[in-house]
């Protein structure tokens, strides 16, 4: 039976702080982005209404397209790398054996370290003169000359992807591991009785059951990659010749280096559209009844 309750003013005090923050620093800026994107707005000067000019300029801005494509390219390459490693790690730490908790912690530890620290540490490893990687590769005879890893997009992109894979694989590993453990052991036993081998079991039983969680982790990884910033700002500085500038990096440059707030907002709108599309996919998976 429902009891009749009076609306109590004190009740609203509970949600007030959260709602004030949400309104002032989320909803209002969000609306402002939309409005600003129609203005020419130098940070210190007068703003003028230019309607769609920013968007038209965006279409002709080669640097914008470069950064958008670069970001998507990065997301496209880093996600499979992350997942292959995450799957391997999750398989390796699934089960009960000596040291399993220690190994879980080791693989997960880089996730909790900041991207800034990780980028710095790897920049040192990749250093062309004193870096340990060039030394090891020369020692093993893989390369003759030290490679200038950060000097061209051809070498810096794989280098950054390698670093991010090391840093973030533990996160996807955990999701996949949790998914592994939702599969009832009895299913495997039944399959084994029917003569199914380990690989058949994995493809026919495990994969279909954990598909929703894997899909979710995939989208998380893609969203994270679309927002990439620190790793490129620090490791490649977006260069050479802005070939490794991500979309967030480009927004940062436009707004805070060249002080074009209106134009920066128009780029932000594109980023929001990309994120919105990804979130829609995510939302579909969240509402999938097969995910609990």
């Amino acid at each position: 039976m429902k009891q009749r309750k009076k609306l109590n003013l004190i009740s609203y005090l509970f949600v007030l702080p959260a709602m004030v923050l949400n309104l002032v620093f989320f909803i209002y800026p969000f609306i402002q982005t939309v409005v600003m994107s129609f203005f020419d707005w130098p940070m210190l000067g007068e703003k003028t209404f230019v309607f769609l000019d920013n968007y038209i300029n965006l279409f002709q801005d080669g640097q914008f397209w470069n950064s958008l494509f670069f970001t998507l390219k990065y997301a496209l390459f880093v996600t499979p790398c992350l997942f292959i490693l995450a799957f391997v790690l999750a398989t390796l730490i699934n089960g009960s054996f000596a040291g399993v908790n220690l190994f879980r912690s080791i693989y997960y530890a880089p996730v909790v370290i900041s991207m800034t620290c990780c980028s710095m540490v790897w920049l040192w490893i990749y250093n062309d003169l004193y870096g340990v990687l060039n030394y090891i590769m020369q020692f093993l005879g893989i390369i003759d000359e030290p490679v200038l890893w950060m000097n061209s997009a051809e070498t810096s992109l794989p280098a950054v992807i390698f670093m991010v894979t090391w840093k973030m694989a533990g996160f996807s590993m955990l999701i996949i591991l949790a998914a592994f453990q939702t599969v009832d052991d009895q299913v495997y036993e039944a399959a084994a009785v029917d003569g199914a081998g380990k690989i058949t079991q994995f493809i026919r039983i495990t994969l279909p059951i954990i598909r929703p969680q894997v899909a979710l982790a995939l989208i998380m990884s893609v969203i994270g990659s679309v927002l990439a910033f620190e790793q490129f700002l620090i490791m490649t500085k977006g260069g050479p010749a802005q070939t490794t500038t991500t979309i967030v990096h480009y927004i940062y440059n436009t707004s805070f280096k060249y002080f074009k707030m209106g134009y920066g907002s128009a780029i932000t709108m594109v980023l929001l559209a990309v994120l919105g599309a990804l979130s829609l996919v995510e939302y579909k998976f969240l509402n999938d009844p097969t995910i609990n």
Binding site: A18, N22, Q32, F103, I113, N127, E230, L275
Partner: protein
């Protein structure tokens, strides 16, 4: 005792490979300048020295040490703000009768979906209008706005688990609404509170972009920003100082990770649903 199996050995090899970058950082931080730039690189420091760590304290009359202090202050304040805001809102959205609750929940979910990276530019002009540019307050407000929605969502779920009948009987016994919240409901949710505190600490301590845009004056710079400034200094990169600072920056979070692993992983796993 768990059995030592083939898996243990494969993991041991892979684990060592995984740890190598961190090992290399520690080793570098313990070397002196000549050894850092010596070839071939030495895998153990020949003459271990703490000079790189000491320099953190003395550099530019303690200015650099101040970056660490700033980060600690900002992180602690942010944790408090996020926990208070999230616990209150989580309770309100779960257990209280409010008009427009659906709309409030929708705006919370929207803030989970849209990250601060996408709203950098208008946030800057909002802070500028409020006269909060280059203050710790602006950073705390932004962290609280963008990291509390997920925490509110977690707290709401935690409060949802408490049966309404418990609240009703407490009210019949004459407990006021705030007392019901504080004495009856809150004690049930301590593990969730711990999780969101850890989540807040982790995200704030590791943040770079907000600190870069909103905290660019020396007085409030965080160590992450200070670290990158070091790397891009005009005198070339000081790898000894850089590696020792990285270690100092990651040790607190790793210690927290070791002791609060349960909450850490729980928080990150739920964060995956973000």
């Amino acid at each position: 005792m768990r059995p030592v199996t083939k898996k243990t050995w494969i993991n041991a090899v892979l684990g060592v490979v995984f740890i190598l970058p961190l090992y290399w950082t520690i080793v570098t931080s313990l070397k002196d300048r000549t050894e850092i730039y010596g070839t071939p690189p030495s895998l153990f420091p020949k003459k271990p020295t703490l000079s790189n760590y000491i320099r953190i304290f003395t550099l530019e009359d303690g200015l650099y040490l101040g970056y660490f202090k700033n980060t600690v202050i900002i992180t602690i304040i942010t944790i408090i703000v996020i926990v208070v805001v999230s616990v209150l809102a989580g309770y309100g959205l779960s257990k209280l009768k409010l008009k427009g609750k659906g709309l409030m929940l929708a705006s919370i979910m929207a803030a989970i979906m849209i990250p601060f990276q996408a709203l950098l530019n208008p946030l800057y002009s909002t802070m500028s209008k409020l006269g909060l540019l280059n203050t710790m307050t602006s950073m705390v407000l932004i962290y609280a706005t963008f990291h509390s929605p997920f925490c509110i969502y977690m707290m709401k779920n935690a409060f949802d688990m408490i049966p309404d009948s418990l609240l009703e009987s407490a009210k019949l016994d004459g407990a006021g609404s705030f007392k019901v919240f504080l004495k009856i409901c809150l004690p049930f949710t301590w593990s969730s509170v711990a999780t969101i505190a850890v989540y807040a600490a982790y995200t704030t301590w590791n943040d770079y972009l907000i600190a870069l845009v909103f905290g660019n004056s020396d007085a409030i710079k965080t160590f992450n920003v200070g670290l990158t400034n070091l790397a891009i200094s005009q005198y070339g990169t000081d790898w000894g100082l850089l590696t020792s600072s990285s270690i100092v920056g990651l040790v607190p979070i790793l210690i927290m990770f070791v002791f609060l692993q349960k909450y850490f992983i729980k928080g990150m796993l739920s964060g995956a649903l973000k």
